[in-house]
């Protein structure tokens, strides 16, 4: 079978529709992951042992099980207990929860990387807890987190094809449907691969820049 440029031109608009959903899912998933991760990181630092242990175990569990199965769980099991979600919403929740457990580690490492002396100095200057966090700790902890967070968002972007399994009409699903209706797999699947490769290569460059800009920790 030969590569057919006319066929490529024909299916291109359909694939572009898929790209839009892929990007939308990535953006919404990233926002959710950033919030969920912060929640998990804070809960694990909580003095309440029960809360920190429970959240810690749940995060470990989510990180140890496949995203695909979690998506199935959200999409197929939750409706049985009366929670009906559209495929896209279920997908975004799955992505956000799964990657939230990873971003939680980024937050934890970022906060722990602030030297102890900074906490002690804040105490010595008689700063309140809020002041310590907003004026001293977070301004130092946040910038080094940015490249690491971006790394996970790129990883999430590459996982969005999984959403096709729960009938979200993103890029992979559009490619599969044109492939199935025309019995031509080479062009659609290769185009999807090329799309992800191009975006990833650009994001590697962007990541290098972010690391150079924010990655350094000044001691």
């Amino acid at each position: 079978m030969e590569w057919d440029w006319n066929f490529v031109r024909e299916i291109f608009p359909t694939l572009v529709d898929g790209v839009k959903i892929t990007i939308l899912a990535t953006l919404l998933g990233s926002v959710l992951a950033a919030i969920v991760g912060l929640g998990i990181a804070l809960a694990r630092r909580s003095p309440n042992r029960l809360l920190s242990r429970t959240v810690g175990f749940l995060a470990e569990f989510i990180r140890g099980t496949p995203l695909l199965v979690q998506l199935y769980f959200i999409f197929f099991v939750l409706p049985d207990i009366g929670i009906l979600l559209s495929p896209l919403v279920a997908g975004v929740i799955g992505l956000g929860l799964h990657y939230g457990t990873y971003t939680a580690e980024v937050y934890r490492a970022g906060i722990e990387n602030v030297p102890r002396g900074q906490w002690e100095a804040a105490k010595a200057c008689n700063l309140s807890s809020t002041q310590t966090w907003t004026r001293i700790i977070l301004p130092q902890a946040l910038p080094p987190m940015i490249p690491a967070l971006a790394n996970y968002f790129i990883a999430m972007f590459k996982e969005t094809p999984l959403l096709s399994a729960i009938t979200v009409l993103e890029l992979m699903n559009q490619a599969k449907s044109v492939a199935n209706s025309s019995y031509r797999y080479i062009e659609p699947i290769t185009l999807v691969g090329a799309f992800f490769l191009v975006i990833s290569l650009f994001s590697v460059i962007a990541l290098r820049w972010l690391e150079a800009r924010y990655g350094r920790i000044e001691r």
């Binding site: 079978m1 569990f61 140890g64 099980t65 496949p66 995203l67 695909l68 199965v69 979690q70 199935y72 769980f73 197929f76 099991v77 049985d80 590459k158 996982e159 969005t160 094809p161 999984l162 399994a165 992979m172 599969k176 492939a179 797999y185 080479i186 699947i189 290769t190 999807v192 691969g193 992800f196 490769l197 990833s200 290569l201 590697v204």
Partner: protein, 223 residues
Amino acid sequence: MNRFMINWSGYIGLILDGALVTIQLTLMGSALALVMAFLAGLGRLSRFFAVRALATAYIEFFRGTSIFVQLFWAYFVLPFFGISLTPLQAGILALGLNVGAYGAEVVRGAIKSVGREQYEACTALNLGRWQCMRHIILPQALLVMLPTFGNNAIELLKATAVVSLISLTDMTFQAQVVRAQTGNTLVPFTTILVLYFAMACVISWGVRGLERRMARGLDGVRV
């Protein structure tokens, strides 16, 4: 009421059959990934530009596209080039090559983390490049690689769920079969989630044990 009257034993057997396929995929995929990781990782540190370029292209390509796309490409597109793979072969190939690319960066990082003075000692002792790598650098680098390799193996285990989408009867596939036959969703999916987590725990325990074994006798050597 009769939702709870389902005879689960048969269905649990089905899921356990799938678990065997998942374990098989994880083991064989990890073996391929390990080989690829060392080949590409050492390739990136090669003296020869061509080898470095090849290794870099492999790593960037497989890290840049998702495992899902690679799997579909291996299963649906390769046949058009005359290479027909069974789902199991396509699964092992895609998983091994994908995780191997991530592993290669681990190998490279670990080897670079070994101090310069070790290389200088090699030169002082008149060891060849291969001898130096084999007897001095790798034994030290291996210990650094091990924890990350453990994480990569867990990532590979999680990625095996994707093969259910190319009709390989792994655990996730069987759970879908059970769902289709019984209409019950909670039991099959909870079962496989717990099984996946148990397997991930086994991997991380195993790696931790291996690490302790290999670190024996190294106390005080490492700073």
